[in-house]
């Protein structure tokens, strides 16, 4: 369907990639860790490597959680826009197929929040 309007109009895409000064929005979510209540939004350079994403963005965002220090990064399961994927740590976000407003979710098997409560 499409909007019904009194006259034709060109919608303004408020969050078009061009509006973010060369950076792109990336959403991150550590599933089963609701202490952080919602996926988080980051504005990142497409040239950032996935390894840097983990060290410079994911770590400060989530390190407060007692589970964080126990993560086995080789066992982490990643999803990109809902599809399972294996990131190349030394490649850029762009080369990993992460574009503007991509949602990255990850689960850490065996670590499901405090007491396994999803929190």
């Amino acid at each position: 369907m499409s909007v019904q309007s009194i006259r034709p109009f060109e919608p303004v895409v408020k969050d078009a990639a061009a509006n973010f000064h060369g950076l792109q929005v990336v959403y991150l979510c550590w599933d089963k860790h609701l202490m952080f209540y919602a996926p988080i939004a980051k504005m990142l350079p497409p040239s950032m490597t996935f390894g840097e994403l983990i060290d410079a963005e994911i770590t400060p965002a989530y390190s407060r959680h007692p589970d964080f220090a126990r993560i086995d990064w080789s066992a982490v399961e990643w999803r990109k826009d809902g599809e399972a994927f294996t990131p190349a740590l030394d490649k850029s976000l762009a080369d990993n197929g992460i574009t503007h407003k991509t949602a990255i979710h990850f689960t850490t098997p065996g670590l499901d929040g405090i007491g396994g409560s999803g929190f």
């Binding site: 369907m1 499409s2 909007v3 019904q4 309007s5 009194i6 109009f9 919608p11 303004v12 895409v13 408020k14 969050d15 078009a16 990639a17 509006n19 973010f20 000064h21 950076l23 929005v25 959403y27 979510c29 599933d31 089963k32 609701l34 202490m35 952080f36 209540y37 919602a38 996926p39 988080i40 939004a41 504005m43 400060p60 965002a61 407060r64 826009d81 809902g82 574009t99 503007h100 407003k101 991509t102 949602a103 979710h105 499901d112 929040g113 405090i114 007491g115 409560s117 999803g118 929190f119």
Partner: protein, 516 residues
């Protein structure tokens, strides 16, 4: 001498005389040029005179009663001020519920006024024109009395010194603001279904219970009075909501799917908006009225369902989203309060952890979920706070493109998994909190791609304080955003315990109740 005494006019005759001049047919302009908005939504209206104005029998006395209500209301507000009525509330935490109400609702009332004034012009029959104009006046009165009520609080308590400025900017206030702007940018028929039917008729009790009864339970006479003063109008507005839906459905069978789509959309939009009300009922009123779950069961599952039974003869079905809401009623208030607790530095009110009594009340009211999922969260937060490491989520959240609420809702059948939905439109990705918000987007993507999402606006650099230089080496983006919102960190937000509000209230109440 004989006097010829004219017979007094009946109510119907008076109404006809008061409104008849609106009913003329244009002679040199085409009807569709005079009423340009009544066709494009696809609704078919054959006979505007079939509209029975539900206000017509009260119109005559309307002005007299409204004037009388105003006089009483302001007399009570005056007395409340002179007697420092704010010191009679159960507990100063309560004031924070009022801060949310007063930050969000006056602009909703004002936008309702704008919306109905527009409909008063654009509806093509005298009945709906008069009904909408009268409601526009009511809504303007509600906005005014609420704005006046702010001064009962903001001279004493922090966070609501600049409600209108914040209403246009602050992240969580974009939720109610965008809800109403969505309605105001609809055609006239969708607007009236959105506001008069879905919001005022179906959901209104769920708004009034926490505010009006909540105020009464918590000793806040000022709010109770303006609440009652507005609520006595709501009965009339609800009548309009019911009248309008019957009118549309009786006019043409082709109207049914359009009306059903709007009911589905606006029931969901309304319930998402009420998440914050659920949180206020369960966490912010020191003396609880009832739980959100109980209110939902009484006012929607019982009363609302009997309404839908009545409408079944027109072919109207209960919105699909109701099944999901039945599941979510066990969760949303807890999810919302833990969110605001963790986002405390970014709000304009104080948060706190429920005390032991309150935790037990929550366990009793939410036997299926509270002890399993939510009590452990508060215990963790308490433990952290006692260690001097009060938990704060340092991140900006992803927002739903439609309801604009942070994506905090979980899967209806899996309360530890956040629900996320996404679609692509025009080469861009869009994200949603639920199937229902996704469907609303898919129906009118052109509308929702224009959403002003606060988190993205901050990132684009549109929400920094004037004069701040984002390229300066010591630039602190969050500090600048708070300054742009006119929020003083720690004074207007953060923990209630240790706040200026807590200290002042204790001191003033002490002065009012003892000789210290």
């Amino acid at each position: 001498m004989d006097m010829s005494v004219k017979k007094k006019l009946g109510l119907k005759e008076k109404y006809a005389l008061m409104t008849r001049d609106l009913g003329w047919e244009p002679s040199y302009e085409k009807h569709e040029d005079v009423f340009p908005l009544i066709h494009y939504e696809g609704l078919k209206i054959h006979d505007w005179d079939k509209w029975e104005d539900p206000f017509r029998l009260t119109m005559d006395s309307y002005w007299k009663y409204q004037a009388e209500k105003e006089r009483k209301l302001y007399a009570i507000i005056d007395a409340y001020n002179q007697n420092n009525g704010h010191l009679n509330v159960t507990d100063a935490r309560y004031i924070n519920a009022m801060k949310i109400f007063l930050s969000a609702v006056p602009s909703l009332e004002y936008n309702a006024h704008r919306g109905f004034a527009r409909l008063g012009r654009h509806m093509a029959g005298v009945g709906p024109q008069v009904a909408c104009q009268m409601q526009a006046i009511d809504e303007l009165r509600h906005a005014q009395t609420q704005i006046h009520a702010i001064s009962n609080y903001n001279r004493f308590y922090n966070g609501i010194h600049d409600w209108k400025h914040m209403n246009d900017r602050l992240w969580y206030l974009s939720v109610p603001k965008s809800f109403f702007e969505d309605a105001c940018t609809c055609g006239p028929f969708e607007y009236i279904i959105a506001i008069s039917f879905s919001f005022e008729y179906v959901l209104t009790n769920l708004v009034f219970v926490p505010f009006v009864s909540g105020a009464a339970y918590n000793g806040d006479m000022g709010t109770m009075t303006f609440g009652f003063s507005a609520q006595s109008d709501e009965a009339r507005h609800m009548t309009l909501g019911l009248e309008v839906i019957k009118f549309m459905l009786e006019q043409d069978p082709d109207n049914l799917p359009i009306v059903q789509k709007w009911i589905d959309k606006w029931t969901w939009r309304g319930v998402r908006l009420l998440t914050i009300v659920a949180m206020m009922m369960d966490y912010m009123l020191p003396k609880r009225v009832m739980s959100w779950k109980e209110a939902w069961e009484i006012y929607f599952e019982e009363n609302g369902m009997s309404l839908f039974k009545d409408l079944a003869r027109y072919g109207i079905k209960v919105p699909d989203c109701v099944e999901q809401i039945k599941k979510e009623k066990h969760h949303i208030s807890h999810q919302a309060w833990t969110t605001f607790y963790a986002a405390a530095p970014m709000t304009n009110f104080h948060t706190w952890l429920p005390n032991e009594d309150e935790l037990d009340w929550l366990s009793e009211k939410y036997p299926e979920t509270f002890d399993t999922y939510y009590r452990p969260r508060f215990e963790f937060f308490r433990e952290q706070a006692e260690k001097g490491e009060r938990f704060v989520n340092p991140n900006l959240p992803q927002l739903c493109q439609v309801c604009q609420i942070p994506m905090l809702f979980t899967e209806p059948d899996e309360p530890t998994q956040i629900a996320y939905r996404q679609v692509e439109h025009g080469g861009e990705k869009y994200h949603f909190c639920s199937d229902h918000c996704q469907h609303i987007f898919e129906d009118e993507p052109e509308k929702y791609v224009e959403a002003w999402l606060p988190v993205h606006q901050i990132m684009q650099g549109n929400c920094f304080a004037e004069g701040d230089d984002p390229t300066a080496p010591d630039f602190d983006p969050i500090a600048s955003v708070l300054k742009y919102w006119h929020i003083v960190p720690g004074k207007d937000n953060g923990d209630f315990a240790g706040s200026e509000d807590e200290k002042n209230f204790a001191q003033w109440r002490g002065m009012a109740t003892s000789n210290q």
